[in-house]
Assembly symmetry: C2
Homo-oligomer: 205 residues x 2
């Protein structure tokens, strides 16, 4: 069955960008080390995990900031090869690219964007691929089935934190899989939302 | 050869205490979930890891706050069974307990406390067991050989962060081991300090 899955690379100290991200260098100083496991330093196992992420997804959903940062380096054809829904407040016509990627701009909020992405994904998964705010909004809203975090053995000290603004009451994770490679520990969690915990009148002791 | 190793349990979002730690509840709300892997929910593999931590250490080094919080619940005999050095500014006589534990109060700073602990540990390791501030001070000072983090599949949202005040320039981690159990992912890193990076005049481009 189609699932909603999030995938994101995070340093051991919790960051998903390098230090000092800004408009000139949106991914921070020395970008790349968080994603070396997918590129220059990938092992056969890392490559299988990348393939699995792409093969299981029928549509991708990302935040506007990630789109703004990525659209130029991703080029044409972009690496997605499938519809990409961009969560935004600005209405804009779809932007077709070569190789199966079309960027759609979803202005109806979290649930409407997800419904559109689900429809486009068909039997496959919707992949929420970032950034931090988009992943945690879907997590907190109880709309994520799975969260896969690629824990990278580096310490960054500052940058954008994945879980900066999360209110985790009621979110229960069950570890579904753990695969270790030299450049990443790939941890997959099933997400369960215990609604009782989210209602202060019915909170457990 | 004797090594200096740190061991600490950390939630997936980076905390080593539960939310809202205070003087009344120093470990925060609902304490225990970070350490269930050592107690109520331990598997045979978790138990082996606990045994290994205790068996490899000849002396323990902890921060003053951890001592203040722990000394009562640890009781007599405490669970250490070896000398425990408490990093503090207050001079105080050693506090002998049953079963091989004596608390020593080390007022000479990081290096002097470690030298005393090394001497007490003999051929065995010095185990730096917390809290966050003590672990990161030794890490940052280049005095740690190994860092073992037990990543717990829970989201806490607030509490004491392990890497709150770390300046990680020049700290390089190499993953030495990863063992996964349902309640923890036990990640062990070798720590290397690249002194060039710590000297601003000799920094790499």
């Amino acid at each position: 069955m189609s699932k909603v899955t999030a995938d994101i690379s995070m340093s051991l100290d919790g960051f998903i960008t390098e230090p000092n991200p800004g408009s000139e260098n949106p991914l921070g100083d020395d970008p790349g080390r968080l994603h070396d496991w997918m590129f220059d330093e990938k092992t056969a196992t890392d490559a299988e995990i990348v393939d699995e992420i792409y093969a299981s997804a029928g549509a991708v959903l990302i935040g506007k900031r990630m789109f703004d940062v990525g659209v130029e380096p991703w080029g044409d054809p972009p690496p997605f090869g499938m519809p990409v829904f961009v969560l935004t407040h600005e209405s804009r016509d779809p932007l077709p690219r070569q190789g199966g990627t079309t960027y759609y701009f979803a202005t109806g909020g979290l649930e409407a964007a997800l419904a559109d992405a689900r429809a486009a994904a068909g039997d496959k998964n919707v992949g929420i691929w970032g950034g931090a705010n988009t992943v945690t909004q879907y997590l907190q809203a109880g709309l994520l089935d799975e969260l896969q975090i690629h824990v990278i053995p580096i310490l960054l000290g500052n940058g954008v934190r994945l879980f900066q603004d999360l209110s985790p009451a009621g979110i229960e994770l069950t570890k579904a899989r753990s695969i270790d490679t030299p450049r990443a520990t790939h941890l997959r969690f099933s997400v369960l939302i215990s609604r009782d915990d989210r209602d202060p009148d019915r909170r457990r002791d």
